[in-house]
Each structure stands twice: as C-alpha cells, then as structure tokens.
Symmetry: C2
Subunit: 266 residues, 2 copies
Amino acid sequence: MTKNYKLKIAYDGTRYSGWERQPGKDTIQGKLETVFTRMIGAPKEAAGHEDQGGVEIIGAGRTDAGVHARGAVANMHIDTDFSEEEIRDYANHYLPDDIAVISVKEASDRFHARYNAKGRSYVYTIFDGPVKPIFNRKYYTRLELGKDSDTGKYKELDVDAMNEGARYLIGEHDFKSFCGNPHMKKSTVRTVDVCEVRRSKGYVYLNIHGTGFLQHMVRIIAGTLMEVGLHRMEPAQVGEILEAKDRKVAGPTAPAEGLTFMSVDY
Amino acid sequence: MTKNYKLKIAYDGTRYSGWERQPGKDTIQGKLETVFTRMIGAPKEAAGHEDQGGVEIIGAGRTDAGVHARGAVANMHIDTDFSEEEIRDYANHYLPDDIAVISVKEASDRFHARYNAKGRSYVYTIFDGPVKPIFNRKYYTRLELGKDSDTGKYKELDVDAMNEGARYLIGEHDFKSFCGNPHMKKSTVRTVDVCEVRRSKGYVYLNIHGTGFLQHMVRIIAGTLMEVGLHRMEPAQVGEILEAKDRKVAGPTAPAEGLTFMSVDY
C-alpha cells in the first residue's frame, strides 16, 4: 500500500547544482529520488517519475546551487515494507556523504511539503573577523575588511545599522526588488516575520523567517544588508529599495555558500 | 634583526600529505614556508632553507597525511618589519583556505617548538550513531554498526570498556606495540597522562595527552580501543598488548581523518 512519508533532510550544497532535479547534473532532489527509486526496486530511469513507477520527492523549497540545508523537508508517496527507521537508514547508507536523511515519518495522505508549509527559516552566515575559521569554511561568506587607517582597529560589519535596515523588511511587502527572477509573472508579495542580525564570536548571522521566499530573495537581502553594514548604504535605503520594486536598486546577491535552509513549519 | 616567532596554527589535513615538507607534495609545513619566504622577500626556491635566506618552520610535531590540527605550534626565525598581527594577517591572506595562522607571538631566541614542548594533546573523534552528520564529515571516523539482531537496538561502541582498556596506557610505558614505524631505532618509551573516552551526542571522543607520541601512536591506540569498544578485544588485552612490544598484536591504525592535534604545552 502506498504511504506518504515526510522526510527531514540535511545537505552540504557545495558540490550540487541546487535542489531541483536536472538531467545530467548532480542535485539534491535527483540524488534522493535515485536512492529511493532503487529502494523500492523500480528501474533507475524511473527516478523522479511517479507515473513510471519511480519515486518523486516533493521539496518544501528549492535551494540554489551551493546553498546548504540543516532541516529541509520533503515528502514522497511510496509503497514499501520498510519501517520509517529502515527507510532512513537505507537512504543514509546509499546517499553520498554530503546528504543525510535526518528522519522519516509517515504523514497523512494529503500532506504536501510545499503547499502545506506555513513558514520557512534561513540563516545567512558571514565571518568578518581577522582569523579565518577553517573547518566550516564552506558554510559562511568571508569578508576580509582589513584595518581602519584612522583607528588602527579591524573593520567589521555594523550590526546595529544592519538591524535598522532589516526592520524595513518585516511585514507583508512586495519584494520585487529582492527577486532574482526578472521574468517573475506571479505575485512577488511575501511576508517576513523575522529578519534580524546578530554577532557571535566573529560571525554575523542573519536570521530570517517568512511564509515563503522568492528566487534569491534571502541572498539579495543579505547582500543589501551587508552594504548597510559596510556603510555603503543607509539603513533607511532598505525601505526605499522595497518601494522601488526594482531589482537594480538593491544590493548584490550574496554568495550561495553563506546560506543555510534551517527549517520548515507546518 | 632576526626574531623568533611562535605560531599557533590550525589546518584541515584532508588534502595534504601531512605536516612535513616534501618535494612536489602539498604539505602544511611546505605551504607555511612558501608564504613566509615570500613575505620576507626571499626567492621561492629558498623556502624551507634558512641557510639560503628562506624561512624554515619548526613544528612541535609532525602529523600524518589527512590528520587535522586546531592548535599546532611552530616557530620561525625571521627578520621583518611586520608586527605580530601583520605577520598573522599576511599569512592568512595568502595561505589556502584550509590552513590558518591563529596567532603570532615573539618568543625568546632559544624557544624551540619541538624540543621545548612538554606535552601534546590529541582528540580522536568517532561517530557511531545511525544518522551521519554531514557538515563536519571530514573530521570524524564513521562506524556504521547497524542494529543488534537480538535487541533490535542500534549497536554502539562500549565506552566503559574502552575506558577500562585506556587505563592500561596511562603512565610511562614502552609503546613499541603502538608504534607504526617498524624500523624505529630510538626509544619507544613515552608517558601518557590522559587517555579517556567519552560519549557526547552520538560522537565518541578519545582524549589523549602525553609528553610525546610515536609515529601513528594515537591512531593505533584509537584503533585498538575501537576493537575493545566493539567487544572484539577484552579491555585487559590492552595491557597485554603493551607488554608484548609487538605492533602485530595491537589493533589496526585508525583512519587519519578522525584525528586532530589539539594543543602543545611548554
């Protein structure tokens, strides 16, 4: 009997072309579909195609190439005799060492990882201190700011200014200026309820939570707030950028490596 | 004027042929000597050769290919106008992103990172839980132990047994059985004052501190204690292995990736 399973997934996105399955490319969805299609004994070519007997994974959100996840959520309808734990263990045994299935839980038949998601949270991590951390170097964006020639002190992001700018983004807004897809036809209105920056041990973390995010939205927000933190933009400009509804006035898209998809709530 | 500098260094050893400089190979010492030789304006070929005007780095201990360090210590005699901080920042700017100089401090002329070291500490990290951690996957050794067919529970290393075995190693002993170099001519007597195993969040850590270590010694100890933790050896056998003074009776050399050189005391 076919059951619907909810999966919690972690991945290091460094060597992947993002979440979404693409022919001839290594993607997270592609790897998962391949492993689970093998698990149910369907032919390799059916992976990603439920109508051909393969496994199709529905993700809560697509991530770009190079973006990481600690708590991505997906679901899949499969017919298997394996227990939840056995499904998880099978996946972790056959998945590459940079993708892990953290948990597998049977869900109601109607559970849909994308449509039912009420909120998503991301963390964007920056390191702006003088001594680069090496062990987690693939998971943050490094800013080498050097010393201030007047004070002789190491320059660092102005977190207070970043938070002042971040506050303009909280609420329901048209985030067109923060959308990386210039051909977006659908609504670019989204609700962000948490957008805050904090500093801890040389790292600067941007925590963001909202109902949903446009393509590159978190990275453009991070890139814009970095401009504010570097005093290249005033905090109030973030409000003006929102109003402009024009991608060209926002800051650059911050590098993918600093972004981690943290969790999804239902 | 030539000064003696003490360096604290961190590295991810994954892609290196160990600490020691070797022609044509990427090594930690080699990378450091190249960068500092460049810093003082000496020709590239002089790196590692003080007598040719290059910089020679004296490390507190050599690590094998694939072994990591969080607090390795070295010293070098150089003539530079740079401040301690400038030396550190120069190095971190030009070193690859998997090696970092954490600090640079002027030391007395007679300070020698190897001869003056009174103790060294290492951590060997094992993960034996069912869900593989992915972000730090290069820094632990994974044991996939599966489930016990009788109890249906996930098997895990017996940390109490490992600690019972570890206690035999504490004190001054001839560690010949734990020496990876079969041609070792010098004394194989060493003193280990800390050797303990603890479990935390699915990881098993072997903490070891001693005056000095033979080639592969920590990894052979880890490999032997893993045999004990898997109940393939009795804890008391560790004492017998010591007495045998024969590498063949000890456990296997545990993989390099799980080992991290933590600190040196003077």
